[in-house]
Point group: C4
Chain length 235, copies 4
């Protein structure tokens, strides 16, 4: 069995998605990449989280999409993960969920505006929403094209995927990512709470203004900027 | 004691309804059919889930409604279950709950529109809502007539009960079903989350459009169509 | 120590209020009456549920309000309980909570309309809301007068407290009751879920009509009427 | 290691914040003061609650802001806590959270009106919301200035911080405080439930009036006034 550590991390990350309530009814999957070997490891399709073990994880080639290790069929969303690894070279982990409030936003086809420092601490700007795929794209390769419309949201400098580590697929659900699969799961969880806060904020005040930029920028910078002073030195 | 396996499955399914929070205060019941023998097994009326055991389950004749095995009185909703087994010949299990958001939709007398792929993955179209029973129907046989107005929603090709495995009874609560009692409980749970997602989506955007059909059709087909590729082969 | 069984029931009922999430931060109390002896037993004031034991329960005379047994000061809401035992002769238990959605309704000073069978199964009509106490009543005896305005809602045949076993005190929170303290706690829990369902129903459709009376009447009767057929015979 | 008892209390209080769901993803921190020694003890920055131990707690001088004991970097919000200890001489504990509904109110920049006795029992008036910091204040010392705009809300007799033990920082999140760190955590929890109740009350009735003052005043007084009769004597 190849890549035992990566398999273990990816297995634990998928179980964490379910344990945190982000992936009810097995609606979710997480993957982690080994960039040196040009592969990523992902959950097999339709296997319940309770019985998932590292040996079930499937290893897929980023360039060709071929299964390079593993006896089972990979998640049906595998082509979306692969497309994201191709489009975002610094991403080392991807998490897809149907977490409740992030999915609600996706169903309304609205990006999530930055309404407070909780959002600003994790996302440097709104969480974007994709367009819908058209009928031809769905017919061609639904899951691969889904990755394509996600990448569109970050193209031409629209946003840096490492500073806005998540997206809403219109009518579908969120994807989140990060430097590794643990970070991808963490961002999926923060995205859910961010979506829930923005949802209730708009219910209480439908015309609320975004957080002033001199505050949102400060919050992102104190955690992630070159002079970040959150956490312990070297931690 | 007849049908020990079916009793055990039905007992476990009723306990699962409660454990998943779908049937607070014993407001719910699940049944499973043995089509060869023309019977179904159902929860006894008013017995708390904590003390429910397979021997308490009551076996009822689908054609006559007579109790054929079991010492207790069956659920007061038994005639509704029976009517569904009569109307829907491929159904092997039925679950009735008062799960929160599905009941809220039932109380508003609105069918649940398909607003996203979470819905489309499980229901091929809106989840219909019945009309109200009139006073004469209530007086005649309330529970049997309830099954009748459910069947009406699927009559004349309005929907296929195996592709839309649930319904809302106006002013009352949901029923769900499936090939067996486990599937009925699973669909009851998915119906609740679907109802909750649609509820919050409409709160955020009261005029949201349904998911485009080229996407909803794709999602149902990749899980349930002749060329389904979700899950493991033969799984 | 007098009335050891009643003390034990009342102690367990108070703990159940907290365990079911109906009384966060010790905001709640339950009492049970011994009508033959003309007393009721109630939680002491400000004692956390985790350390509450039967010996802490305080026994109070229904007619005089005097403590007849117990070393601690009774709940500050004791005069309200006492007034309800005086006004409603068939009531054997009272529960006061600050459960979330029932309190929200109380804060809006709206009675809860009967919007579905979940409500109709437990309450034969809307759950009424009191008027506000005026300044003179507050100054005179706040807790006793609170019981007085509750009783007002059921006076002159407005409603039968045994068929509508709960109320909302305007700007404050709910009280529920029943034949004994266990029933009072059960009704407090059902009132909370009923309030939550009605809340979400009105959010989805602010102009929803009440459940037709030929259906609500049927539901209350099949559980509580002279020909009730819910549950087991003699159960 | 200095101040072992205070460290233990502060450690336990931080863990309680997380256990009560008030500080998801380590978004929160609590501190406790030793007024005689002129110091306060606070959580280290970015350390997960699961591994937090009394020895990790950092002790800071109230006057100078210098770390006087502890090997780790204190919470990035330390200057805000310090400013509150300077401004409010009777405060012995401070808790900062991103609890959901209190943060939602902060994001709408609205103070929480007193809509019921649950609020009045803990806060003698609305929970105020600060103004936004301007760009110069953010650049100067963001966290210290945050304490400054909190103190502004209580200046010139606007409110007594010991009678209104919490605040919302506009666009950010709540702070709560009390006579010691345990009280600060308790008030943070009550603020969250108060915020959640007011949120749902306004959703059900956007034009609801505040609780009449003859009732809110009575409730605060019966718990906190000179003739308080809630709880046990001397308790």
């Amino acid at each position: 069995m190849e890549l035992p550590e990566l398999r273990e991390e990816v297995c634990a990350a998928n179980i964490a998605l379910a344990a945190q309530g982000l992936a009810p009814f097995t609606w979710g999957n997480a993957s982690g990449a080994d960039r040196e070997r040009g592969v990523f490891a992902i959950k097999p399709s339709g296997v319940p989280y309770e019985v998932l073990r590292p040996k079930d994880i499937v290893v897929v080639d980023i360039e060709t999409g071929a299964v390079v290790d593993g006896a089972q069929r990979p998640s049906s969303d595998t082509p979306t993960h692969r497309r994201l690894y191709q489009a975002f070279p610094d991403v080392g982990g991807v998490a897809h969920t149907h977490s409740h409030y992030a999915t609600v936003w996706a169903q309304t086809c609205r990006s999530i505006p930055c309404l407070g420092t909780t959002h600003a601490d994790a996302f440097a700007g709104p969480v974007p929403v994709t367009r819908f795929l058209d009928a031809a794209e769905v017919a061609r390769n639904y899951e691969d094209e889904t990755g394509g419309i996600i990448a569109e949201c970050f193209g031409a400098g629209a946003a840096d995927p490492m500073e806005v580590p998540g997206v809403l697929v219109a009518g579908h659900a969120p994807f989140a990512w990060g430097a590794n699969v643990q970070k991808a799961v963490e961002h999926a969880g923060i995205l859910e709470e961010t979506a829930r806060m923005a949802f209730h904020t708009l219910l209480l005040n439908p015309t609320v203004a975004p957080l002033p930029e001199h505050i949102s920028g400060k919050h992102f910078a104190r955690k992630h900027g070159p002079d970040a002073y959150y956490g312990q030195p070297g931690g």
